[in-house]
């Protein structure tokens, strides 16, 4: 059982190592949802396994056992998990849960701010907001209850020729139409709850950019126009932040990957790449669900045993006792399987 519990962690590690090659072999509209799903499933699985490990140790405490109505000595005999490991797992689970909650609170705060800012902004058109800033900026933000907004500065619009301007707007509106921020936020939430999934979340972020670039290229009919818009905008936007030729090293940059994707043919669909990502999701969820049921039935069995002991001690009426015995017998068959798993 302990070995099984390690499977979701192995899956997270595998996903960390394979996120980049996987997303490179999948087309962005497949990669973004698939990696998001895998990250979420794996993150839930690791969280669940950590909580279960913590619970199995905490359940042995006499006080908890008395509250739950199961004999602590029996649980102790059943779990081989060392107490130190269980306590560490419980601590880790609490820290990761807190990290996920902090992330959620931050997203909520930012979305609220975005909503408030957009409410005061006169709307040029349904989604486009043009700000009189000279610095070239363009971004999309989801606005709760209003769909979303594309914010572009006048500086950016003056920088680009008409066809590249159209490419930029098509890119940004693709983000909104396909709910790209949703994928990014869900994958980041998964990574907040399991730091091993950070590479996967990063690949989701890149995949939605590639996806929007792809849709923009389809709309303007030429990937090179999108690449030029990206080049012109990025070069202009990065210029003022360069005091005396010195620039902070950027660890991760998507621009090269995006230009490469725009100027070459899209990757062919690779079923095995999609299948292996899906496999990681299925494996970790299946293990987590199995372990949850295993722990649940153990606790339930312990409760039944303790109920039967109490009943026997009190010499209660015989029909009731036989019901308990039948129920206990019913539960003991799958339990024997769980013992053999150890």
């Amino acid at each position: 059982m302990i070995a099984l519990g390690l499977v979701p962690f192995a899956c997270s590690l595998l996903l960390a190592l394979t996120a980049t090659p996987l997303s490179r072999r999948l087309s962005p509209p497949v990669a973004a949802p698939l990696l998001t799903l895998t990250a979420l499933a794996t993150s839930l699985a690791t969280g669940l396994v950590l909580s279960l490990a913590g619970f199995m140790v905490l359940a042995r405490l006499p006080l908890v056992a008395a509250l739950g109505g199961w004999p602590d000595d029996r649980l102790r005999a059943w779990t081989q998990l060392p107490a130190a490991v269980g306590v560490a797992a419980a601590g880790l689970a609490a820290v990761l849960l807190a990290s996920a909650l902090v992330y959620l609170a931050r997203v909520g705060w930012d979305l609220t701010r975005a909503h408030r800012a957009c409410r005061q902004l006169p709307r040029a058109s349904d989604q486009l907001m043009i700000t009189p800033e000279e610095h070239p900026t363009a971004f999309t933000l989801p606005v709760p209850l209003r769909g979303g907004a594309i914010v572009v500065s006048t500086g950016m619009l003056r920088l680009l020729p008409a066809d590249e301007r159209r490419a930029l707007l098509a890119h940004e509106s693709a983000h909104l139409r396909r709910y790209h921020t949703g994928y990014v936020l869900l994958a980041s939430l998964a990574a907040a709850a399991n730091p091993l999934l950070r590479p996967a979340a990063r690949q989701v972020r890149l995949a939605v950019e590639l996806w929007a670039d792809q849709l923009a290229a389809r709309e303007v009919g030429d990937g090179l126009v999108v690449a030029r818009a990206l080049a012109r905008a990025s070069l202009a936007a990065s210029r003022p932040s360069q005091p005396g030729g010195f620039r902070l090293a950027v660890a991760e940059s998507d621009v090269s990957a995006r230009v490469h994707a725009l100027t070459t043919l899209p990757p062919r669909f690779r079923p095995w790449a999609a299948a292996s990502a899906l496999g990681l999701a299925v494996a970790s969820s299946a293990i987590a669900i199995t372990l949850t049921f295993a722990v649940h039935s153990r606790i339930e069995f312990a409760q039944l045993v303790s109920a039967r002991t109490v009943a026997a001690r009190q010499h209660s009426a015989s029909p009731e006792r036989s019901v308990v015995r039948v129920a206990a017998h019913h539960h003991s068959t799958p339990l024997r399987d769980h013992f053999s798993l150890r």
Binding site: A124, S173, E209
Partner: protein, 137 residues
């Protein structure tokens, strides 16, 4: 003549017309907007889009010659939107958007990216000048 190329989704033309007016430093006539958009749009299509935007209050117009010239509205609304824009841009500042709510079009550049992008633009511009006027290239 087709009203809009099949690639343009609904609402995209209004978006592009607005962006075109915002980029111009002076009011534009429908003919100028059409020339600027440059993808064989019918004059009436551009005209309809401009009227629709004007009816929504998204753009203002003034008489010019026999027709109208269009521009983005100026005044108190613009000042307020500048303030709001500033607030939104603060969301973008490093460290502020830790949750990753915003999708930025431009990314941070590494020196090698810069080289790649400069080369891309240089070759694109070279092609453009060759295409327009082979004698000058």
């Amino acid at each position: 003549m087709a009203a809009a190329p099949p690639g343009r989704p609904r609402g995209a033309l209004e978006r592009d017309v607005l962006a075109c007016l915002a980029a111009a430093r002076r009011p534009l006539s429908p003919g100028e907007v059409r020339a600027e958009l440059g993808d064989q749009l019918a004059y009436t299509t551009v005209m309809t889009t401009l009227s629709r935007l004007h009816a929504k209050g998204a753009i203002s117009r003034q008489p010019a010659g026999r027709g109208y010239a269009y521009e983005l509205p100026d005044g108190p609304g613009a000042a307020q939107s500048s303030m709001t824009a500033h607030r939104m841009l603060r969301l973008l500042d490093a460290g502020e958007d830790r949750a990753g709510v915003l999708s930025r079009f431009v990314a941070d550049l590494r020196p090698e990216d810069e080289e790649l992008l400069t080369n891309l633009l240089a070759s694109a511009d070279r092609e453009a000048t060759q295409g327009e006027d082979p004698d000058q290239a």
